[in-house]
Symmetry: C2
Subunit: 442 residues, 2 copies
Amino acid sequence: MLTLNLPDPQSKPRIVVIGGGFAGLNFVHQLDTTRYQVVLLDRHNYHTFAPLLYQVATAGLEAPDICGPLRKSFRRKHDFHFRMLQVHGIDPATRLVHTAAGAIPYDHLVLATGTRANFFGNQNIQAHTLPLKTVPDARRLRNHIFQTLERADLTDDPEERKRLMTFIIVGGGPSGVELAGALSELRKHVLAHDYPDTPMDQLRFILVEGEGELLSSFSDKSSREAYRNLEEMGIELKFGMLMTDYDGRVATFKDGTTLSSSTVIWGAGVTGEIIEGLKSDSVLKARYVIDDHLRVAGYENVYALGDVALLTNDEWPRGHPGVAQVAIQMGKRLAKNFNAIARDRPTTAFRYRDKGNLAIIGRNRAVADLPPNLHFSGVPAWFVWAFVHIFYLIGFRNRLFTFLSWVGNYVTYNRAVRLVLEPTLEEELREGEERFSVIDRR
Amino acid sequence: MLTLNLPDPQSKPRIVVIGGGFAGLNFVHQLDTTRYQVVLLDRHNYHTFAPLLYQVATAGLEAPDICGPLRKSFRRKHDFHFRMLQVHGIDPATRLVHTAAGAIPYDHLVLATGTRANFFGNQNIQAHTLPLKTVPDARRLRNHIFQTLERADLTDDPEERKRLMTFIIVGGGPSGVELAGALSELRKHVLAHDYPDTPMDQLRFILVEGEGELLSSFSDKSSREAYRNLEEMGIELKFGMLMTDYDGRVATFKDGTTLSSSTVIWGAGVTGEIIEGLKSDSVLKARYVIDDHLRVAGYENVYALGDVALLTNDEWPRGHPGVAQVAIQMGKRLAKNFNAIARDRPTTAFRYRDKGNLAIIGRNRAVADLPPNLHFSGVPAWFVWAFVHIFYLIGFRNRLFTFLSWVGNYVTYNRAVRLVLEPTLEEELREGEERFSVIDRR
């Protein structure tokens, strides 16, 4: 069996971390690597600031503004080793992680793999809708949005134009709400001017939510405020509607309703990224069951952090929310406990400190819930949001550039990023060519 | 036959422009659209500042820094109509341009299609080398560079590592020279720190030129200066070598030499983007033959501009150089002549005003030839270059951001853009999986 090329950890224990999201990043950052060797694996060579993916999708920011190269983040970290690899399986008996480039022996294993979009087994929906979980997703969505509008500009068939100009967003959580708000601003400040030959007032953004309210994890006040804002911004809001099918042209709902649309953005739910190899009773509802020391049930040296971990207690009987703050705090807690063990000091149980919820809806429109019982909206919420987000972005360049991009967008509404970088329009047109009577080429 | 959906030009003549490069952009900008309707076609929805593509390829800048969305550039232009389309053919007899979305009637046709990489009919070279002519090319090259280094970090086979760490640049023109310089700086300031487990001193950059010198269109002084600089920066320079084959692993040269390399960047030449439909005697060496009024030989109402046009005279017996300045000046000249005709004023023959040649090689290393006979290098040349390039970038955001990116790079050597956004590493590893003995997954 081939073992991956890595320096010998000498007498130190080796900790292998799978996933460079908020949990993995904060774990590595906090870990004392004079006492442990740390190997970080991720299929991408960058960390994604996921809460801003919708900005990349709507041409407000470009990918590097919300990504931090992992090698650069830990350039000065002692005994840190990054490998860009996807993990194929874990073998807890032999303490090995398996990848296409070889196996990696571990002393401790930290699972911080996060989640992926949940299509609930519906293959049509998976094949034709656009999720927004990764940077490639965000860029694919942006390409699709601008290409669909270019295509609408080319047609004079009113039915086809209507279909091309109808965008459905599935899911009324923070990312659905933020995306809907950003699309509405894009329509008002950019699209209405860029497409003089297409009736942009026919552009429809429909947000479809299966339950009865937006932002169900927020306070009722914030939820109502979000509703009022989106309605004012011309977003069509539909509740209690479950999409059962989508073929790329027509969306079908459980009540039999159909909607003709070329674009369905899928944000209806997520599911944990579970790696094969652990006992089945350590996994519940696609999450690793962990104790208050973040240890996976049934294992001494396997830990899980963030969205893929399921930690229940009296305060959080259904588990902790899948937000960045939980992942950050878990990552730090686990590293501090490792550092304590290395110094023969006592470890501390994880306890989540809720810092509140924030969502931005548009220019001067935002909602914020701060514990224990503070809710605000409008300009003050927007500033809190902007500050918090910029503060957590990795690295000076990202903070500065994101800030400048935002200021630039707010002053000029200048979506300079609206480039179709992977055009497929020609292919689509070729496929539909029989509908046109193009003369033979000589 | 379906005609593309476009507003009726009323009594005004319609000018169709194919290509939104330097020539097309400057033509549209200068044209008086109260006298003409203008339709611009491009397969991309943005203009590319091509002289900076190598910066995108080496993670110094991101695509939006060097791209201007075409709709935005002409948002305030009267009677301007952009359509994102590739042209399939021209029919000068019926005065129609054919696209997949329908035909477009024209009164005047402006061909500004530019060039594409010339592989001289070698299909292996075309399939396996990486050109650098478009933004997608630049991003593909960047992905490839960083992924190849990640891969080198995964192997412990010395032969494979050597192959992965050998980069060949074919062509010693400005883009090859600038790219080689940028790669050398990337090695010194970024890669040497980012890959502690890989011997980055084994990284080889080999510039291969078929003729006897670098920058053959520059003065001898600048050419020698470029040679000296690249050699100091650790670029291996090979002259008089013609690549005859490349299979993705081994490059073969005319003299029988071979070089093992995973990366060949192809900049050995370009050829005009000729659209089918014109008489064969109006095309010579893949360029449209034009007169001093930029009119294609044999046609009254068809014009060609920039790199795809061939205009010979006493001063330029072999045609004008394929540089941005020629394209810009041709675009402006033709538009001014159209404007003159609309006002019954005399037209003016095109005359190229040579503004000189500039190439940047690295930090404080640049060469410049200014007419009639001024050559300088080093810091002053670098400042001239930076000023000229920023000056010509479209739009405030691009100028400001490019400038800030540069300043940021110069101060911090912070290549924040080094993201592998389209990873294919896993696929490659899977293909090579038989070489590893990965255990079966359970």
